[in-house]
Symmetry: C3
Subunit: 163 residues, 3 copies
């Protein structure tokens, strides 16, 4: 049963104030999720809603910490929606293993952990203890489509015979 996970995700989405009901589009010659055995890989997600990247530019200059955190949350919601679609339900996420958070950064912006905590918070809220993960956060020069944040994920999934 994923009802509590789905309910928590719905709450996060309502808080963000964006509509994620359409197809989750990706922007290149790759696939959003690959499942291999008990592991699923999720492509790096930018804060795109529908066809638009809604938070762009470098954190620490034109983008505030709070806006960058919102961007990180949108990326994470996208990753969860893609996993739900690929695995048939959020309940098939066994454990988040690793999260990579890339933040487009102004030269002196160093609050990458604070940005990444917004992504981690979504995972904890939706998945509880199973959302606890390892993480690498870095500040980069640029991101695709001038996105402020990109979030990638590796997750453990329930064994095939459980799916």
């Amino acid at each position: 049963m994923d009802s509590s996970r789905q309910a928590a995700l719905n709450e996060v989405i309502a808080g963000l104030g964006y509509d994620f009901s359409g197809e989750i589009r990706i922007g290149g010659d790759y696939v959003p999720v690959v499942v291999d055995g008990r592991t699923a890989f999720v492509s790096g997600q930018v804060p795109r809603v529908g066809t638009e990247v809604v938070v762009t530019g470098p954190a620490g200059s034109t983008v505030s910490l709070q806006q960058a955190q919102q961007a990180a949350m949108i990326c994470t919601v996208r990753a969860l929606l893609l996993l739900r679609q690929s695995l048939g339900g959020l309940e098939n996420i066994r454990r988040v293993l690793r999260v990579g958070v890339f933040v487009q950064s102004a030269p002196h912006f160093s609050q990458h952990s604070e940005v990444a905590d917004a992504a981690s918070g979504v995972l904890r809220k939706v998945l509880g203890d199973r959302g606890a993960h390892t993480r690498t956060s870095v500040g980069v020069m640029q991101l695709p489509k001038n996105a402020t944040v990109e979030v990638e994920m590796t997750v453990g999934i329930e064994a095939a015979n459980d799916l």
Copy 2:
């Protein structure tokens, strides 16, 4: 049989116009490929041919999109040649799982997906559906040896008893 994969790779190499017949050299205290169970990890590859990194500098200023795409293709060819050498043949690649593409970027260059698509295109061409993968593309300040692009890869491989 890897004949069709090898033939496709030969075609890519011919299109690039470089000679990849020598040993594939790496530049540090690490190994090019580690195999663990049904997974192989490939170290980040820069566009080195022989001893020379042939595409250097930031995309979006001194390096054009097209040159950056060529760099991404060279990195990907190197990764495939290293996998072939390590696994004993391209046919032992079961599925590409994840590709990381780092692009040295001028401040306003945001076509990382377009650069990365050149890497993804090589994988699709050589491996067909088995080359479909998840991907994370980011724009970074610098890369080893001033390389324009670096490509890393995680691939699923055939089980040991198939090798």
Copy 3:
């Protein structure tokens, strides 16, 4: 028996001249290590000793190559200490699979491989052949807390029935 690994690690620590005897603290809403089957993921480590990040700023301008190498060694020691704590001993590291090294870089600094070799050297010294790994080194705009280097790791571990 991990006595020779522990002894080698002690030697590295003595050479660095820092005290790593306290708790290894991390700086955000995530966990330092996740174990999944025969694989362990280690969160990106910055050169923090106790509560202080001891090497900050961009390599190639205010930070020398040698200082950046020292930073990379500290990150790697932290990763090993976290693995020891999580796995119950260094002997439970079966093989280092992948290392990611992010170096905060001045615009023209391109000796990321030389920085990363310092991290790789620690792994070789402590783990011998089992420390040989694949690696991706990149130069980034910024890192959490203005750290000069961040090192993440994926390692193979002994099977659960061996632990």
